[in-house]
């Protein structure tokens, strides 16, 4: 039985998804028995040229985590698509754009200036900025082009499956690898390792009346562990977020943030979260409604925390 050829690659990522794979602990050794990991920058040596030399579809499976923000990310996305039988968008960034996707709300020039010129840790007078091309001795050094917005993986290439989560839980990682190893594949384009209902289905907290006169940041109150967080004014995104993660966050008093993405029938998770929050405001007076909304600091950030590039508008469209 030939070993599975797999690659695990990170685009615009934090590394958490790769750590999630490592978190499978000894399981990774089992994986090692049935698979050759041909590319995994976080854990092993490997060169892009090795990938380029592969035959088309030589890889059985690539797990691509992270979003696409630079020309390097895009290049590898296309390369790995070409060389893989199955390409899986692994984790929220590849699936939906992830937290890096929030950068779509800020003009690229502003991000650049903040990173390299206008922040407290830059020495005054230091105006060194990265250049796309520069000479280092006799060698011309080029660095990847930084795009002016974030893309999710399927904006660039055809994706076979999506594994949601920020990061996907290591149990899901095992389950997904197991499914792929078994050959019994679900329909192409499926989101795997999750359920088809919103998180409220698994959450044990009691749900009664949804009427709120004030919203609270999670640190502002000590929520009752038995009652629905949203009903207590804490912005839990669970009602518009796909389940299957085991309710790990609400179970310890933290509101769901929405990392598994929208439930199957929802076209735009941010729009639905907006609708949900507005629906529970307990008032009919415009002034009072405004006051209640003032306790909600950042609707766009809350609603699109993991999925800005996957919303209908995808990004800010200012002049």
């Amino acid at each position: 039985m030939p070993k599975l050829q797999i690659a695990i690659y990170w685009g615009a990522a934090c590394g958490g998804c790769d750590v999630a794979v490592l978190d499978t602990n000894e399981f990774i050794l089992e994986v090692g028995k049935i698979a050759d990991i041909r590319l995994w920058p976080v854990a092993a040596d490997g060169k892009y040229s090795d990938v380029e030399k592969m035959k088309d579809k030589e890889l059985d499976l690539t797990l691509f985590d992270g979003a696409v923000r630079t020309s390097e990310n895009e290049h590898l996305a296309r390369l790995l698509r070409q060389k893989s039988k199955l390409l899986v968008a692994f984790g929220s960034c590849a699936h939906l754009g992830g937290i890096p996707g929030l950068a779509n709300l800020v003009p690229m020039q502003e991000i650049f200036e903040r990173a390299y010129l206008k922040n407290a840790s830059i020495e005054p007078g230091n105006t060194t900025v990265p250049k796309p091309e520069s000479m280092v001795g006799p060698y011309k050094l080029t660095i990847p082009k930084f795009y002016d917005r974030v893309y999710k993986l399927d904006d660039i290439v055809d994706v076979d499956y999506y594994v949601p989560g920020c990061p996907p839980h290591f149990d899901q990682v095992k389950a997904v690898l197991g499914v792929i190893a078994s050959g019994k594949l679900p329909a192409k384009g499926s989101v795997v390792g999750c359920t088809d209902r919103a998180l409220c289905d698994e959450c044990k907290r009691e749900k009664t009346e949804k009427r709120v006169k004030k919203f609270f940041r999670p640190w502002q109150i000590v929520p009752d562990p038995n009652k629905c967080l949203l009903e207590q004014g804490v912005l839990c995104a669970g009602s518009a977020t796909r389940g299957g993660c085991g309710v790990r966050c609400p179970n310890i008093g933290i509101p769901c943030r929405g990392c598994y993405g929208p439930p199957p029938n929802v076209v735009d998770q941010g729009a639905k979260l907006l609708s949900a929050v507005a629906s529970i405001i307990d008032s009919k007076e415009p002034k009072e409604i405004d006051q209640i909304l003032a306790t909600l600091p950042d609707i766009t950030g809350y609603a699109y925390r993991f999925g800005m590039p996957s919303g209908l508008l995808q990004r800010r469209h200012a002049p």
Partner: protein, 571 residues
């Protein structure tokens, strides 16, 4: 959807549409769209030949969707739905594009009109592809009715329904029937005996074979929906609650009077000869009007708007008190011919039949009418013991423009009507709403005053708003007629357009339950899923937009249909 066969029909509407819209251009544009099997225009699509053309095309061309670009759907959607039905195609496979009221009649530029007509019709073509066959269905109903409250409204409703041979349960909290009318002697403006009026009704109600009177009883619980309400009645002195299944309820719980103690200026509660209208009624029924010390009063004053039309107390007018005050002027003069009667009012509301004449006759009795200003009520004080009268009333008289003080031995306060103290809990039990003043809210103030937003629950009488006996009776009859119409059908027809929760995607988040103004979405705690009672759903779509999982489908107004229509008009 490769088996779509859409027929597109552009109506000329004579010249109404054709004068500005280039119908040929619209036809050509529609012919390029995928799924369109035929596109034609005709002079008058709504005419018989027009409808027959559609029906014939459905049969010969096997059309499974129809778009009619014509007048507003509010005009002819039912007409064209019938045309589809006549050809054996489900009527909901129709979509209309409004190219008359919202196009040819409102824009002058022919090119712009044509462009818009093409966009709107294309929107309809894309939308109709996602239409589904929808059916009306029926659920059984119980023909029994529960009437809550045994006053004049409640008894009227019970008799109407009982006379129509349906079972009525008349639930009354007190140990007698009659409500507030039982506390008065004569009615205004005709000075009929309230006692006779009531006696007749009470006799008929208590001897009626179809009416079951439950005295000393209260409705404590209600669940279910129109045609299928489950109610629990608690009777004082009985341990077990009575469980009744009824198809409809009429709420006739009436009113209570304003507590005059709340207005210090009148001295009610501290001055013995300041009494309320109801207290005067008691005296009149006993046959003698006297002061507390037993003397016959020489000066009798009637003060209007006690607790009503007031910024501090109730802003509304209690409707009946003006004519009741005139009635008292008559009664006092009839029992004490030498008495001086003064009537202190803000405005004389003599709106009803016979009331202006009654007012005129009231003044012919030499009643002294004194007008005071709203929110500047008269002030009552005890007179000097030397004086021949007991009290003095000071007021800023508006007709003369003078500040006057008038003598009074007996002051009658025309206390206003207010919602009963338990109206909030009654509203909660039967699932209806109250307005800002606490009265039960009707479905529509002008067009539907006896129905409520909860199907099957009707309101009649003063519990809806202050009103007199004729109006209470009229409302009770109206509610009964509505109920009889439903009972006559024998079943409740559920409209084909309603919202449906898909249990496969419902997460039990319960966002929807509160959003429904008709309480049509119930939550099954065991299954942890919400469910729409289609018989009660009015298809507003609030739950569909509010569901964070998009698990609720708004039949005939689904997300897919609306998205397709947006794509179509923007293409």
């Amino acid at each position: 959807m490769s088996d779509l066969k859409i027929g597109v029909y552009i109506c000329n509407c004579g010249t109404n549409i054709a004068k500005t819209v280039d119908c040929e251009a619209v036809i050509k544009a529609m012919q390029t769209l995928p799924g369109v099997a035929v596109a034609k225009s005709y002079k008058y699509m709504c005419s018989n030949p027009g409808q027959e053309m559609i029906a014939a095309d459905i049969k010969t061309l096997g059309l499974n969707r129809v778009v009619v670009a014509a007048c507003s759907p509010r005009m002819h959607e039912p007409t064209f739905r019938k045309a589809l039905d006549s050809a054996g195609l489900n009527p909901y496979f129709l979509e209309m594009a409004n190219i008359r009221e919202q196009n040819s009649w409102v824009h002058e530029d022919g090119a712009a009109c044509t462009h818009k007509a093409i966009d709107l019709t294309r929107g309809a073509v894309k939308r109709v592809a996602f239409h589904e066959a929808l059916e009306k269905r029926s659920v059984p109903m119980s023909p029994s009715v529960l009437v809550l409250g045994g006053g004049v409204a409640g008894m009227t409703a019970a008799l109407e329904i009982g006379d129509a041979n349906q079972t009525v349960y008349l639930v009354e909290r007190e140990d007698h029937l009659g409500g507030n009318v039982a506390r008065i002697d004569l009615t205004a403006p005709h000075l009929d005996s309230a006692r006779d009026l009531l006696l007749d009704r009470i006799t008929r109600v208590t001897t009626h074979p179809k009416i079951k009177v439950l005295l000393k009883s209260e409705l404590v619980e209600m669940s279910g929906y129109i045609g299928n309400f489950k109610t629990k009645i608690k009777t004082a002195g009985k341990e077990l609650e009575l469980e009744l299944e009824v198809g409809a309820l009429v709420v006739c719980t009436g009113y209570q009077e304003f507590d005059a103690k709340k207005i210090r200026n009148f001295g009610y509660g501290s001055l013995p000869d300041v009494i309320t209208s109801f207290e005067l009624e008691t005296m009149i029924r006993a046959g003698k009007i006297v002061t507390k010390s037993g003397k016959t009063p020489r000066y009798v004053s009637l003060i209007h708007c006690v607790g009503s039309r007031s910024e501090e107390h109730h802003p509304y007018c209690s409707r009946v008190c003006c004519m009741t005050a005139i009635k008292y002027a008559h009664e006092v003069k009839s029992m004490i011919p030498d008495a001086y009667v003064s009537d202190l009012y803000i405005d004389m509301h003599a709106f009803g039949k016979g009331c202006e004449d009654f007012y005129k006759r009231g003044s012919e009795l030499r009643t002294m009418f004194l007008m005071y200003k709203k929110n500047q009520p008269p002030v009552v004080r005890v007179a000097d013991p030397k004086e021949k009268f007991g009290m003095l009333i000071a007021l800023s008289e508006q007709l003369s423009g003078e500040d006057v003080e008038i003598p009074a031995d007996l002051i009658v306060l025309m206390v206003g009507m207010e919602p009963r103290a338990d109206s909030a809990s009654v509203a909660h039990i039967v699932n209806i709403s109250r307005d800002k003043d606490g009265w039960f809210i009707e479905s529509h103030p002008k067009l539907d005053p006896v129905a409520t937003t909860t199907d099957g629950i009707f309101i009649a009488g003063a519990c809806q708003a202050p009103k007199d006996i004729p109006d209470s009776v009229a409302q009770a009859r109206a509610a009964s007629a509505r109920i009889m119409a439903k009972i006559a059908q024998g079943k409740i027809w559920v409209d084909a357009v309603y919202a449906e929760v898909d249990p496969e995607y419902c997460s039990g988040c319960r966002m929807c339950n509160e959003l429904c103004p008709y309480s049509a979405i119930e939550f099954d705690a065991a299954e942890k899923r919400s469910h729409v009672i289609s018989a009660v759903c009015k298809a507003c779509g609030a739950c569909v937009a509010g569901c964070p999982s998009s698990a609720i489908k708004g039949r005939h107004f689904t997300d897919k249909q609306i998205f397709a229509q947006i794509e179509g008009v923007m293409a």
